[in-house]
Structure formats: structure tokens, C-alpha cells
């Protein structure tokens, strides 16, 4: 435990408490306009989505573009539990994440044999299939949607986001995360180093799906209504843009990407047809001037707070 206590972690904790407290205070005193509150919670949701997609795409180097499918699974499963079965919110969120993880495992096992473009197409297709399945299930409202009471608060969204990022970070900074990175760097060499590359690809995919499912659950229980259309490939594309802009392989990059893209979306809320154009332009400019994304594979680091040597 004492290993946790250093100036860097204390600084991060204070910063998190400050952000949380500020928003919470403004929420309680009703000084935060609802539009801001909505977008702050969306930022939390997108941070979970972007960091978990980065685990698959950036860290492990497997190009998946069906993340919205896992988000949909988490959203619908959690909503079924909280609305239809009157279960507690936490149970709904966990169940949504677990079912999504199981789906990720089952989908990952065969598809992760595919490489590059083929994997991208397969995951894109599977994401759409998930959406179409929900579209055709009357029990969850079909195309017209599924009404879910709003039970997610800033407290839930913020701390679930913090826990998600922490879990993914701790996984990456370990021998298991290094195994994933080695697959990205050179799969043949990774195998030669005794790393079961299939196992780690599937594991990264499963963990990624777990957190996408969690994010979907938070989304469902905040937005009053979920519709299959919400989880189309355009959503997958949005998440992918956050990851690529922030830098494939950088968690802090994904966080910045999620904040940035959600903010752009909010600013352009009244010009929604322009949003895609601007996103595309941003990507083009990024690819021209900084093809590795904002952070590359590096992390924004506070190690200087720990003293001389990180």
C-alpha cells in the first residue's frame, strides 16, 4: 500500500477530487447548466470508450472498429436489468459489462486470426450485426427505442471513469501489458519470446469489450432512451477518431482525444451536419502534420513530481 503514496499519485488524487468536487458542487447548487452537465458525463463515457478501444487498437495493435457494438450490448443488458427486472444500477452496469466481455471473447476468438484490414471489416460487420439484432427484438423496443430512467449521476460517471482508466493503465504497465505491446511491435518475435499471442489478443479484446459494455450501461442509464441507431458504425468511428487523434498506444492521448472530440461535438451541436466534415478535416490535418496522433505512443507524465528519477 505504501507504494501508492508518492507525490505524483497524491497530486493526481487531489486533481481528481478537485474536478469532481467542482462539478458536484455546481450540480448541487444548480449553477451548472444541464447542457454542460450532459457533456461532462459524455466525456466520462467517451474516455472509457476511447481508452478501452486503445487497449485493443493502440496497445495490442489489432485494428478493431466495432466498439459501438459492445457499447450496445452493455447498454441493452444493463437497461434490461434496471428497467425490466428492477435490479439495482450497479448490478445492471456490471452485468452489461460482463455480457459484453463474453461477446468480445466469443467474437475475438475466431476474428483475431485475421490481420489488418480483414479484422477491421469483420469487427465493423459484427458491430452492425449486434445493432441489427437489437433492432429486431421487440422486448427492448426495436427501432423506436427503449426508455430507461435516468439514474446515473455525475458521481457514478466520474468515478467509474477513473476506475476504468486505472484498471486499463495498471494492466498495460505490467508483464501482461508488455505482452500485448510486443504483439503490436512484432508478432513473430513476440511468439519467439514465449508469448501466447492469440491469448493476449483475445484478452485485450475481452477487456476492451468489458469497458465498452460498462460505458454503454452508463450511457443507457443516463440518456432516458436508447435506440439501435445510436450504436451504428458512426459511433464506432467517433471513438476511433478519439483514439487516433490522441495517439494509438497512449492512454492519456485517448483521454485528451475524448475530451477534445466531445467538446467539438458540443460546440457544433447546432450544426450537427458539419460535425463529420470537421472531424474528417481534423483527421486529414492530423495525418499530414502529426501522423502518430497528439501523443504518439507516449504518455503525458507527471513523473517529475516523483523527484529526479521516474
Amino acid at each position: 500500500m505504501s507504494r501508492w503514496i508518492n507525490s505524483k499519485n497524491i497530486f493526481i488524487l487531489i486533481a481528481l477530487l478537485a474536478i469532481y468536487g467542482l462539478v458536484q458542487g455546481m450540480t448541487l447548487t444548480d449553477t451548472l447548466p444541464p447542457f454542460y452537465r450532459l457533456n461532462l458525463i459524455l466525456i466520462c463515457i467517451y474516455i472509457i470508450l476511447a481508452t478501452s478501444l486503445n487497449l485493443i487498437n493502440g496497445i495490442t495493435g489489432q485494428f478493431s472498429i466495432g466498439h459501438a457494438g459492445f457499447m450496445a450490448i452493455g447498454a441493452y443488458i444493463s437497461a434490461i436489468i434496471t428497467v425490466k427486472l428492477h435490479g439495482p444500477l450497479l448490478l445492471g452496469l456490471i452485468a452489461g459489462a460482463i455480457v459484453s466481455a463474453i461477446a468480445g471473447f466469443l467474437i475475438g476468438l475466431p476474428t483475431l486470426r485475421l490481420k489488418g484490414d480483414y479484422l477491421a471489416i469483420a469487427t465493423l460487420g459484427l458491430g452492425e450485426i449486434v445493432r441489427i439484432i437489437f433492432l429486431n427484438i421487440e422486448y427492448v423496443g426495436g427501432a423506436s427505442g427503449f426508455s430507461v430512467p435516468k439514474t446515473i449521476t455525475w458521481t457514478w460517471a466520474f468515478w467509474l471513469m477513473v476506475i476504468s482508466v486505472l484498471v486499463i493503465r495498471n494492466f498495460i504497465n505490467s508483464t501482461h501489458g508488455r505482452a500485448c505491446i510486443s504483439i503490436r511491435e512484432n508478432e513473430i518475435a513476440a511468439e519467439a519470446m514465449g508469448i501466447n499471442t492469440t491469448k493476449y489478443k483475445v484478452l485485450a479484446f475481452t477487456i476492451g469489450a468489458f469497458f465498452a459494455g460498462l460505458a454503454g450501461g452508463i450511457y443507457a442509464n443516463y440518456m432516458y432512451i436508447i435506440q439501435p441507431m445510436t450504436f451504428s458504425f458512426l459511433k464506432s468511428f467517433d471513438i476511433l477518431v478519439m483514439v487516433v487523434l490522441g495517439g494509438l498506444g497512449s492512454l492519456t492521448g485517448s483521454i485528451l482525444g475524448a475530451i477534445f472530440m466531445t467538446t467539438i461535438g458540443a460546440v457544433l451541436a447546432s450544426l450537427s451536419e458539419w460535425r463529420l466534415v470537421i472531424t474528417a478535416l481534423l483527421l486529414v490535418v492530423m495525418m499530414l502534420f502529426r501522423p502518430t496522433g497528439l501523443m504518439g505512443t507516449k504518455e503525458f507524465s507527471l513523473n517529475f513530481l516523483k523527484g529526479k528519477k521516474g
Binding site: R178, A192, M193, I195
Partner: protein, 255 residues
């Protein structure tokens, strides 16, 4: 004691028999050379031994178990490690991370241990860090631990690849042209190093080398491969005077 026994190992690519009826027997602690002209099938033989290719035929008995048909990572976990002819480092990672990755299979803490930052995680990481640094010291790379692997000079990249293979804690080390691209001084130092690590780590080494004179200097026994088959094997002195070998290397300078 026999460590590796290869029986009738064959591999065809379409119509081409890259390796045919390869037989080899290597005892614990030996330093063996595998030589042959360009395209003889040496690298293919390594790829068969390490599970990169599945043999068309034959057995690979390693430590009394048939490892033919296993995946590369399983072969490595059984104690056979290799380097590549065309260096395959984790080029964008640091030198120390390259080595740390290779300790993966001997790390005991679980994903949950890592996520929850249990004491087992800190213990495991500290141990990996220390072992990796020790290994880098042996290979005189400790000052470059934090450098990105692709920025190392060529000779150091080759050394790092050997260090990384050793980190998997193998019984048998397969080196595919470890001195390729090195200058004579570097080559000489490398051969000294190979001899030394064999003793220090109680290794058995099988070494592919294009340069005959070099193999003659360090290896106790030599197998000569030509067109996928073993055309000769024996001590360096025997190989040197073998007419078949001289013929295979016709036009090339034999020692």
C-alpha cells in the same frame, strides 16, 4: 545426454524441398555449427525447430518430447530460444523493455495481481527489472537500457537480440547468423561472448554461420547443409577436408 534429436525432418514449399530428411543429434552443452551455401535451407531448419513452420514430415525430439507441430511460443516455453537472421527486435521499444518482454513466461503474477497492484506485482516487476539489468550488463548494454532499440548500432542490435533470447531462460539457443554485418573485431568479441555465455548459462548452442572460418574456430561439431540435405557432419578438421563440402562451396574460399 541427448538434448535434441531431429529425425527425417522435411519441409516443402510447393515443389521445392527446402529441407529434406534432416537428421541431427545434439548433446547437452555442445556448441554446434550449421553451415551451407545460400538457400541451403538453414533458416528453414530453424523455423521448423521453433514451430514457425509445421514440418511436412519428421520428428523433433527435444528433452525427450516431440515438439514438432507445437506453436512457436510453446517451443520457447519448452526451453528453445532463437535469434533471427534479419533482426527482429521490438524496434520502437527501449532496450530494457525488449529484454523484460522475454521474461514474461517466467513471471508469476496474474493480470488481477497487476490490476489490483498486489504485492506479487511489485515483487515480480522488481525481479524482472533486476534480472534484465544483469543481462544487459553481461552484454555491455546497460548504459543503453533506456535507448530505443532501433537507434542502436547494428552490432549492438544483434547482441540485444541474443540477450533477449537468453531472458527466456532456454536450454538450447539457436543463433541465425549472429555475426552477419559485423566487422572482424565485433565478430571476434561476439564469438568470445558466445563461448562465455554457454558456460555461464549452461547452454547448448546451435549456430548458423555463413562464414566457414568463423564456425571452424568456435564449434566442436559441424553439420553441412546443401539443397536441404545434410551432406556432411563432423569435427571442423573433418569438414575442412571433406570433398563434398569443398564441392558445395566451390568457388567460395574454404578457409
Amino acid at each position: 545426454m541427448t538434448l535434441l534429436k531431429v529425425e527425417n525432418l522435411s519441409k516443402s514449399f510447393g515443389g521445392l524441398k527446402a529441407v529434406s530428411n534432416l537428421n541431427m543429434e545434439i548433446s547437452q552443452g555442445e556448441l554446434i555449427g550449421l553451415i551451407g551455401p545460400n538457400g541451403a535451407g538453414k533458416t528453414t531448419a530453424f523455423n521448423l525447430l521453433t514451430g514457425v513452420y509445421e514440418p511436412s514430415e519428421g520428428k523433433i525430439i527435444f528433452q525427450d518430447k516431440n515438439v514438432a507441430g507445437l506453436k512457436p511460443y510453446q517451443v520457447t516455453q519448452k526451453g528453445m530460444a532463437r535469434t533471427f537472421q534479419n533482426i527482429r527486435l521490438f524496434a520502437d521499444l527501449t532496450v530494457i523493455d525488449n529484454v523484460k518482454i522475454a521474461y514474461h513466461q517466467n513471471t508469476t503474477y496474474s493480470s488481477f495481481g497487476a490490476i489490483l497492484r498486489l504485492p506479487s506485482y511489485y515483487r515480480g516487476e522488481q525481479e524482472i527489472e533486476e534480472k534484465a539489468m544483469q543481462l544487459l550488463k553481461i552484454f555491455k548494454l546497460e548504459d543503453k537500457a533506456q535507448e530505443v532499440a532501433k537507434n542502436l548500432p547494428y552490432g549492438e542490435q544483434r547482441r540485444l537480440e541474443i540477450a533477449r533470447a537468453l531472458a527466456t531462460q532456454p536450454k538450447l539457443l539457436l543463433l541465425d547468423e549472429p555475426a552477419a554485418g559485423m566487422n572482424p573485431q565485433e565478430t571476434h568479441d561476439l564469438m568470445e561472448l558466445i563461448r562465455w555465455i554457454r558456460k555461464e548459462f549452461e547452454l547448448t548452442i546451435l549456430l548458423i554461420e555463413h562464414d566457414m572460418s568463423l564456425v571452424m574456430g568456435v564449434c566442436e561439431r559441424i553439420y553441412v547443409l546443401d539443397y536441404g540435405t545434410i551432406i556432411a557432419h563432423g569435427t571442423p578438421a573433418e569438414i575442412k577436408s571433406n570433398p563434398k563440402v569443398i564441392e558445395a562451396y566451390l568457388g567460395e574460399e574454404v578457409v
